[in-house]
């Protein structure tokens, strides 16, 4: 069993959490962006996370895959725009206001984005802890028999 390969798994996990963090931050930061560079309303972004080598098939197949030492690792498959109904705010003086004086604001759900941030934080922490323990175990192995 190669413990060094475990670093890659934890790194993949941390990198996925970072993408989720960046996306949540972008959604929060753009919560009042009425026009993006192409002139359209900002749409909330969502990270699509997939896992490589997800074991499928019969029990024997799954076991064979797992024995090959290929543990699944996550990756960001895409970051997609989620078409969301805009939030209408009455602001007649705003340059982007419609005929009735309503401005379309991005439909960013601030509350659920904040919840996502908590989940990201916990996920990142757990990955970091896994990384740290792996490092510690490798160090213990290297130090084996050094006390003589």
């Amino acid at each position: 069993m190669d413990l060094f390969g475990v670093f890659d798994i934890s790194s993949a996990g941390m990198s996925v959490e970072q993408s989720r963090l960046a996306t949540a931050a972008s959604n929060l930061a753009n919560a009042r962006t009425t026009k993006t560079a192409d002139g359209t309303l900002y749409q909330p972004l969502s990270v699509v996370v997939r896992s490589s080598n997800v074991p499928t098939g019969t029990y024997a197949d799954v076991e064979a895959t797992m024995r090959a030492g290929t543990l699944p690792r996550p990756y960001v498959s895409s970051i997609t725009e989620v078409p969301t109904a805009p939030r209408l705010v009455y602001d007649p003086g705003h340059p982007d206001a419609d005929a009735k004086g309503f401005v379309s604001m991005p439909g960013v759900d601030t509350l659920s984005t904040m919840m996502d941030l908590i989940s990201v934080s916990r996920g990142y922490e757990a990955n970091l802890r896994a990384f740290d323990i792996t490092r510690h175990l490798i160090q213990k192995t290297i130090d084996m028999g050094r006390n003589r």
Binding site: M1, L3, G5, V6, I9, S10, A12, G13, M14, V16, E17, R20, V49, R50, S51, V54, P55, Y59, V62, E63, M66, R67, L71, P72, R73, P74, S119, R122, G123, A126, N127, R129, A130, F131, I133, T134, H136, L137, K140, T141, M144, G145, N147, R148
Partner: protein, 119 residues
């Protein structure tokens, strides 16, 4: 002497399984954000049962001739709970350190024998 070699061999295998557990728990934590991911588990109970049977004094099996298969990694069909994975990982890390300690003691015994009891 064959006993000490057997012990070293056992410790090596146990360390190997413990390292695999660390890898599997890390993978579970890393994939926690993936929708539909099922947590994985190291299945080593069957192997341990056959081993325990060989060490049973009532059986005639020779512990030095027990064949051990590689442990298998199987999905449990449940979602990942981060706190449980971290706790399991901490426990496994302690087990790994205990095994490393046992390994060191075994090798210091061997060293003692090589030096004919002189430190």
């Amino acid at each position: 002497m064959s006993d000490s070699i057997l012990t070293i061999d056992l410790l090596t295998r146990a360390l190997d399984v413990s390292a695999l557990r660390q890898a599997v728990y890390s993978a579970n934590i890393a994939n926690a954000a993936v929708p539909g991911y099922q947590r994985l588990e190291v299945n080593f109970d069957q192997q341990m049962e056959s081993f325990a049977a060989a060490f049973d004094s009532s059986s005639n099996a020779d512990p030095t001739h027990v064949s051990m298969n590689a442990p298998s990694v199987v999905p449990t069909g449940t979602a990942v709970k981060l706190d449980e994975e971290v706790a399991a990982m901490a426990r496994n890390a302690l087990q790994y350190q205990t095994l490393v300690g046992a390994y060191e003691r075994m090798s210091s015994l061997t060293r003692l024998a090589i030096h004919e009891g002189r430190e």
